[in-house]
Amino acid sequence: MKVSKECVGCGQCAAYCAFDAIIIFGRAAMNENCTGCGECVKYCPISAIMEII
């Protein structure tokens, strides 16, 4: 998953991540737990997360 510079760090994606794969500190960053499932994308209020194709 790719997080754009629009990310503000609200943490919504992290709360809905089933793999505990998102670290929030001013912005979101995926750790090695990320499976690329893409569930976080729909929880981002400003469309700042994109799947890497």
């Binding site: 609200c10 992290a14 709360a15 500190f25 929880y43 209020p45």
Partner: protein, 410 residues
Amino acid sequence: MKTVIIGAGLGGLLAGAKLTKAGYDVEIFERLPFIGGRFTNLPYKGFKLSTGALHMIPHGSRGPLAQMLREVGAHVTIIDSNPMAVIRKSNDEIIAFHDFRNELSLTEQVKLGTVLAYSLKFKPRSDLSFRDWVLKYFDDEFLFKLADSFCGWSLSLKAKDVPAREMLEIIDNMYLYKGSGIPLGGCSAVTDALSGIIRSNGGRIHTQSYVERIIIDNDVATGVIVGKKTIDADIVISDIGHFETSRLYECMDLEYLNKISNVKPSKGIKICLSSDEPLIGHSGVFFTPYAQRINGINEVTNADPSLAPPGKHLVMSHQAIITDDLEAEINLGLLDIAQLFPGKKYEALLIQSYSNGWPVNRASSGSDNGNRTPVENLYIVGDGAKGKGGIEVEGVALGVRNAMAQIGVS
């Protein structure tokens, strides 16, 4: 009358509840998978955190939001905080909020009463900031720090960035409605109750539905396009702020565009803490005027233990963002917490920040542009169109009341 509402945040839901109750046919489109926007619960590690606002209603059970909930028949239990708020002094002593006057000299106390009474009656000129208003009459470090702490906590702004007029409207409302309360069940108790009312009144709420365009015909809103489908409407209400709304149609009013693009959103950081023992011990606001960054803290589990797993407390701090270095701002906040609660065991659960496209308030307090747009039958509600003197969600409720008056719904 068919009404389409863009966004199922608090503003959209309040408008939807008022309109369905008045017999309007309402359809709400929300782009996220859940409703409530920045005023609902965020489940996290067994805690009920919040998507945006703290689990708090600034004027509690007597305020504009509570009043509107009662009007539409939304049942929410609001536990008024007692004490309403306390202040942590520079020597670590904690005093009740209303006793802040005792920290001033006798002369200053008398002066404060007179100046406040005068300024509430004759509002200062509109370009005077709250800080400059305080500075005009007082030379007192405690008052400056308290002003910043209060403005930071309630508006995510420094006192220098709040118009004195807006702050005096807020003080007026504090006398009128009194202090804060906690919605039992957290923010989602409010937004879920509203969606229940809307649905039982025949309204429809669609999640994961993105409005692509607002259809305008001869400067009149006639509907929206959602997923290539046209939905006709007599009224369109947008809960996404003036600017974002203006991008959904071809706005030709340059004066309006100029005005709304100059509006600055307010930005802040919320640190959510888990603790085995209470750090504060009541559900009122804990103002921290002498902290470097943290403006205030509350411990909602004293009012509603269900917001944390059994035996745990949920504590949330709030700070306005002062510089552009967000990571440094967060670190200063964490340092403040460590210094405020030495020797206490707690854990930072989640640190949430809000700015730019997903801010604390789309229009910082005092810079709201009302509910109207250059397009007939297109109205704005929510935190981009708050009513005067309304702190956060109280401002949203006052803004919705203004919009309803313009539509003709009491």
